[in-house]
Symmetry: C2
DNA sequence: TATTCTGCAGAACGTCCGTTCTGATTCCTC
DNA sequence: GAGGAATCAGAACGGACGTTCTGCAGAATA
């Protein structure tokens, strides 16, 4: 890719800036005005060079039809926006998602990267982990856990559960065994919890965990 | 948001389709042609309704200045693309990033969500965790750890280190104490490792951890 | 039935805007 | 200093394009 003149750099910068504000491209005369150029032919001349060198693409005779090559949509990724409904901590009830939460409630939100997004991004919500009680699930203070809201889990799935008798919130692998539920820590060295099925409220399946490590 | 007539739905669909191909919007006459409408005034009429109902936004007197509200860029997020260089496991040397890796080497890549992206997204790379030896850092098999490549760490930072004497890769908090380095597990219940500084190769600082939990 | 509203057709107006032509200025090369 | 390429200025042309005005037909309303 050949080097670029300062005039062309100036125009390219303006194109980017203009496009982020509005979502369409400036006309040639707008470029002329913004870059302090005294003729539209100069703008056309430099746009022609920018296109020859592969920086932009133009469609002849069409207004505002400039595209910045390899930049328009390539670096942008469609992500799922997950509402962060609150915190999950050992002794506190798990926040329950209301219908409003998914439809742009006033919650904080979190962008889940595509690699971690399940096929079906509906009914997802996130909780911020408070404290160190989820260590047996390899989850620690400050982590974000992404959950799919559901009331019934299948065996082996990791769930966020609330135990009303013990007044405890926990993240465990779920196994229904007759009348009882066995809750297995992800860390196989730690002991399972076995409680009557009626004493377990499943709040959702764990879909992903993410953690930002402090500097 | 009021209901939408079939004509308006047709136009809206065409706008989306047109915009995904090119990156600009159609002119009124192009909409007219594509939707089989016999007058530009009809297009204008329906666009006016679409704008009144909040589906699109138009800028008067400007060609192709239609924006689809809440859809154009809102769901798109600029993310940092991190190359996944390989795996980190207890007994295997840590893959070293080459210069080529950052500049679109043929590695798998991973999109880091903006919430987890540090101010400076340079020199970042990712490793896939193999095995269960990093449990004391709350990291387990299959996790992705994001690292910033550096040879020297500051006290308290979590680093990926290779211990040549022990032939061991590990994730620990780093503390330089005179001639020795103390490597602290994130889990405070586990014992630290203390080794001569010359026996520690720091490969990078841990920036983020993410995990997709199996269904 | 009279009235209003909605959706559409056709045409014309005026401006927006890409394009092009001519010529000047600057800068390098030989 | 002559020749040539690169860059720019000014103006004009013509098509692209948004806008508007008039009118018509059917549905809804009263």
């Amino acid at each position: 890719m050949p080097a670029i003149s300062s005039r062309q750099q100036q125009i390219l910068d303006f194109l980017r800036e203009y496009h982020t504000d509005r979502s369409y491209m400036p006309s040639i005369r707008e470029i002329q005005l913004a870059c302090g150029i005294s003729s539209t032919s100069v703008v056309d001349y430099n746009l022609r060079l920018l296109e020859r060198d592969g920086y932009i693409h133009r469609s002849p005779d069409i207004s505002r039809a400039i595209e910045i090559v390899g930049e328009s949509e390539a670096d942008l990724v469609e992500v799922a926006r997950i509402p962060v409904l609150g915190a999950i901590a050992a002794g506190e009830p798990i926040p329950v998602p209301e219908a409003a939460a998914y439809a742009g409630g006033d919650h904080e939100s979190f962008a889940l990267p595509p690699e971690l997004t399940p096929r079906d991004p509906d009914n997802l919500y996130a909780l911020r982990v408070k404290g160190y009680s989820m260590i047996d699930a390899f989850v620690t203070d400050g982590d974000i856990v992404v959950l799919r809201h559901t009331r019934d889990a299948h065996n082996g799935e990791m769930v966020a559960a609330w135990l009303p008798m013990q007044e405890e919130a926990t993240l465990k692998h779920f196994y229904l065994e007759g009348e009882n539920v066995r809750l297995m820590p992800a860390n196989p060295n730690m002991a399972p919890i076995i409680v009557p099925a009626s004493d377990v409220q499943v709040h959702g399946k764990v879909v992903a965990v993410m953690r930002r490590v402090a500097a």
